[in-house]
């Protein structure tokens, strides 16, 4: 079967990539698949920029003294690293690339509900990104990505307004994507695609979209008020003139905590797809995973005060937030148990996507459990604003979400481009990423517990050994991310031609050609079975 699919003619079949050429056909496209590619390129650029900032930070931290950069510059480095990685890489990542490409296909639709708004989302994202990059180019921002007042509103001499405007604008991109997905999933499912038959990737993106829709506007108005304060010098958040900096933090974290679930739920959706395919087994506890996704989205809005335990927030409120934070861990744990149960007595194989899935499950578990440490008020008082927190969120965001993103990219790459990536190099890179990641961030748990504060460019000499380990790990991690960049681009021209369904996976996206035609399906599919019906399929066949 695989030999007949190597012929070049099949690659030249009309598909969404070759049906039209020229920059106008890309920049004015309304095809969700092309918009996904536009986002793929953009977020990769921002990932590189954010990574460079991280590299500079880690280089400084090789030695205890603040010798490479002065503290002001270092402040700008970690601020820009955070702003770029969170707002311009992680939040769009899976939803805007894999989500945009796959949501219509997985539900059997020809496009999203609002294709022109989809394109507008990308343009808004780019404009926001340009504002953020110009803030960096003009000299940067030094407030931390959290823009705490009154530093950001009153005292900082850096380009807060420009950077904040960039974040404000890009928020609307996120809102519109969420809006588009929600309406699409409600209204454009193919006949027979009931809610109970949706792939869990769709449930995950629905939950993510709820957060994008309902949370982002609050950070938008918060940033707008911050900008007003900075321009008119009125103390809305400045305590010296009667303002309340805690109010800023409440409004900021009302969005920014749920935002972290934007930065994990899509990854969880990917993992459900990968674990089922590479265990050749239906998911264990479909309804529980679907309900957990919604549960995380809803409860995630009730826990933000755990970022504010030491700010002066009332003890009572802190207890409420702490308790609810414990609660929000439960649906995540349910998912980990269910993925594990899916693999039990399955026929597990270790293709690259599955390697990333394994990495996700282990590293997300560590990250999630350390989140519970932080939700415990007494422990938090000791480790807040230390490297413990830094390690925790990198475990979930990088060890979790970025691993899922890499796994998903590898899994759906043949569908998106009709070409396979080189499996040998890919498995090697996955291992390099895993090793590099742990070497970078595990020592940071120890550093934080020992008391090294975050956002400092100098530190006590006894912390050096762990910092050196961390920087070494970061270098390895960088290599691990660079190799896929090279072979993915290489594969576009030289990769093995992929068939419709190289993984022999379930899901409507695999029933159409690779790459898909412009309108996804030659005939609207009619769905008659549940998702993940692997019992009648054979093995994974890479072809």
């Amino acid at each position: 079967m695989s030999t007949t699919l190597q012929t070049p003619e099949l690659v030249e079949r009309p598909n969404y990539l070759n049906e039209d050429y020229g920059w106008k056909s890309w920049l004015f496209t309304t095809d969700h698949k092309r918009i996904a590619i536009l986002y793929l390129i953009s977020i990769s650029v921002f990932f590189l920029i954010g990574g460079i900032f991280a590299g500079l930070m880690r280089t400084e931290l090789l030695t205890p003294a603040g010798d490479l950069f002065n503290s002001d510059t270092y402040n700008k480095l970690f601020t820009m690293h955070g702003v770029v990685m969170i707002f311009f890489f992680l939040i769009p990542s899976i939803p805007a690339t894999l989500g945009n490409f796959l949501v219509p296909m997985m539900i059997g639709a020809k496009d999203l509900a609002f294709p022109r708004i989809n394109l507008l989302s990308w343009y808004i994202y780019i404009i926001g990104g340009l504002f953020a990059l110009s803030a960096a180019a003009m000299g940067g921002v030094d407030t931390g990505w959290t823009f705490y007042t009154p530093l950001s509103s009153t005292y900082s001499n850096t380009f807060v307004l420009t950077a904040a405007t960039g974040v404000f604008i890009s928020g609307f991109s996120s809102i519109l994507t969420g809006l588009n997905f929600i309406v699409t999933i409600h209204k454009m499912r193919a006949p027979g695609m009931t809610w109970g038959r949706l792939p869990l990737f769709i449930w995950a993106h629905y939950a993510t979209s709820l957060i994008q829709l309902l949370g982002t506007p609050v950070v938008a108005i918060t940033i707008a008020l911050l900008c007003l304060e900075r321009v008119f010098h009125v103390g809305i958040f400045d305590p010296s003139v009667g303002g309340d900096p805690i109010l800023f933090q409440h409004l900021f974290w009302f969005y920014s905590h749920p935002a972290v679930y934007i930065m994990i739920l899509p990854g969880m959706g990917v993992i459900s797809e990968l674990v089922t395919c590479f265990s050749r087994k239906s998911i264990f506890g479909y309804e529980f995973i679907a309900a957990s996704s919604i549960g995380i989205a809803v409860i995630g809005f009730l826990v933000w005060g755990h970022h504010m335990f030491v700010t002066g927030q009332s003890m009572y409120a802190s207890m409420v937030f702490s308790f609810l934070s414990f609660l929000v861990a439960v649906p995540s744990a349910i998912k980990v148990f269910n993925w594990t149960a899916t693999m039990y007595k399955g026929s597990v194989t270790f293709e690259t996507p599955m390697l990333y899935a394994f990495g996700f499950i282990g590293l997300f578990t560590i990250g999630g459990l350390t989140g519970l440490f932080l939700s415990t008020m007494a422990v938090d008082v000791h480790v807040t604003d230390t490297y413990f927190v830094v390690a925790h969120f990198h475990y979930v965001m990088v060890g979790g979400m970025v691993m899922a993103y890499m796994g998903g990219l590898h899994f759906w790459w043949p569908k998106m481009f009709g070409r396979m990536y080189p499996e040998g190099w890919a498995r090697f890179s996955a291992l390099v990423v895993f090793l590099g990641f742990n070497l970078t961030f595990f020592p940071q748990f120890i550093l934080g517990y020992l008391g090294m504060p975050r956002r400092y460019h100098a530190y006590a000499p006894e912390f050096q050994i762990f910092n050196v380990m961390s920087t070494a790990g970061a270098t390895i991690l960088g290599v691990g991310y660079t190799i896929p960049l090279i072979y993915f681009i290489w594969s576009l021209k030289y990769g093995k031609v992929a068939g419709n369904n190289p993984w022999n996976a379930t899901g409507l996206e695999w029933t159409t050609t690779s790459p898909p035609p412009k309108f996804n399906f030659d005939k609207t599919p009619i769905v008659t079975e549940d998702a993940y019906n692997y019992s009648h399929r054979g093995e994974v066949e890479v072809g």
Binding site: A109, K110, D111, L112, A113, F114, P115, I175, L179, N180, I182, V183, T184, H186, K187, M188, P191, L213, L214, G215, T216, P217, V218, A220, I221, T222, A224, L225, L228, E229, V231, F232, H233, V234, G235, I236, V241, G242, G243, D244, L247, H250, L251, F254, F519, K523, T524, P525, I526
Partner: protein, 224 residues
Amino acid sequence: MAETHSTLVEHSPDLQHHFDDMGQQFDAATLGMWAFLLTEIMFFGGMFGAYTVYRGMYPEAFASTSKLLNTWLGAVNTAVLICSSLTMAMAVRAAQMGQKKLLIWMLVFTMIFGAAFLGVKAYEYHDKWVEHLIPGLGFEYKDTQYFHQAQILFLLYFAMTGFHALHMVIGFGILSTLLVMAIRNRFSPEWYTPVEISGLYWHFVDIVWIFLFPLLYLIGLHQH
């Protein structure tokens, strides 16, 4: 597998090809507008949240500032917006029934009421400018002990009514577009979706004012 290729079936020229039929398209558009209105609730909600906190924190300053707002202008503006909501609802109804002339007149009346609201708002803002009550631009407060707090509260007043007015201006622009489309006979009972979703938007902006009026103009008239 069933064939549902839209080019083989006769359909309205207004059917966008990624939809199966006009009903699905209309449902998607209205659900999309409702989703957007949810984001607007949260956007204004942040300001209402800030208002609630500062009102609770500075009750005396708040009482002092709210006396400086013109209650009667606020009440008149509220009535004006309510009238505009009536004419907007009538406009949507006219579109549903294919009554082109009535649709045009109702859109025009809605725009007149909207413009009247904005005019009164401009007058109020001008008043505040003359009285040196614009934060950051030469703000003066006779009750000097409340200077900073009053400035914060006035910033919130301008932020809340300002963003509301911005939404009115955008709404006015949308209505003008609808008017042009209506005059050019674009709408019919089969397709009047822009009118329907613009109506939802306009009513929402009215609802925001329904809350802004008592919270800013009425509470604190009798506060100690």
